[in-house]
Amino acid sequence: MSDRKNVALRLGVLAFVSVLVQIAGVAQIHVFGVGFDLAPLVVAAAGFLTGALSGALFGFGVGLFLDLAYVQTLGVFALVFCLVGYTAGRVRELRAPEAPFTPLALGAAATAVASCGYAVLEVILGVTSPVSLQLVRDILVGIALNSLIAVPVYSIVRRWLIPALPEDPRRRRRRAYTTGGLSPLSRP
């Protein structure tokens, strides 16, 4: 199986499992009255690891899956997560951040963009509930909660996708040092 097909297959399985876990399990866990949201974390992690185009496609698929599962206006989650996946991929392509807190910042940013984007779309579509302090509080608590699980989620997604991805430059560099062949210190 080619690498691209392997990546697509793994992304498909990841989308299905993550949405199922989100709907059947994670959505029912409430802390401070707010639930965890796995979808933006998984989409951002996948986009960050596989690139902007794959991230956009993956986000679109996950969003459409959620739209269908929640029996709501089709395309809302698809649009929001498509943009989240694309943006995460572009961040990796343009900046290639390697700081240890990158997954955490990525998760928080993805959750914020998804929450705000969804709220904006709902308002545009004519949801009559007013923007209240409670809504702002829920969004902020949601971002904080998702930040807590952002690192393990990123780690799981990376572990799942990494075998199908082209070799990671960082891994290659680390291996080079440990084998002793290319380390400047080991040179005569």
Binding site: L64, D67, L68, V71, A78, L83
Partner: protein
Amino acid sequence: MLALLVVISLILITASFGGSGGGALHTVQSGFLDVLSPVETVASKILTPVHDLINAVDDVVHASSQRDQLRRELAAANKEIATLQAGKHASADAAKLQRIDSTLQLAPDGPVDATVIAQPAGVWVSNVTINAGSSAGVHTNDPVIDPDGVIGIVATVAVDSSVVTLINDPSAGVTARDSVSREIGVIGPKPGSPGELQMQAVSRPSEVKVGDLIVTAGEQATAGASFFPADVPIGVVKAAATSSSGVITVSPAADLSSLDTVQVLTAVPRP
């Protein structure tokens, strides 16, 4: 590619939002839900212990604050219930007082409503303090009644309160009449029985029977004493006079150990 996905999303949103509930997209969603539901059910059963455990931890974390909140709510509710019950009790008493005023035509006697604000504990206590004084028109020796009948006379008057001597005090001296035989006597405390009264100075005590209602006679018992309007209930004959003692025992109509709303008759005509 991104633009294409965005356009597809927008088309889906437009079609889904603009379409009626029975449209093609809705059918697709329903069909998808039919397919997904069994999988979702299985996944939910598998994940139930996990989210139950996490929710239980969250519940434990919040249990303390929830307990405090519930305690505050309970205290507020109890306070509200007490207020409502007091209001209900007061309004019931007020209604009964109004009825007795109406029945006995006490309106010309200047009834002033008051509440007992101090009632010393103990069986031998024979006075209470009420929250009406000279500012409300209360005078010394004004008769005081409650919804059940006579309770006493005003002994001391302050600006906003008064002390009432109850009818079980030896100094009260209320003239009374048997409502059946029309025999007249004087009501006073029964020695050794703080919860009961006795009727003395009856000319024909054998005429007074057990169960007769004793009411105020409307006559002054001693010079300078209060002048109760006639026919206000005092009590019921509990034991008739014996040939040896001639003492008639009367059970007071009002519960003198538990007084709340009372009425002072401030304009009783005096001789």
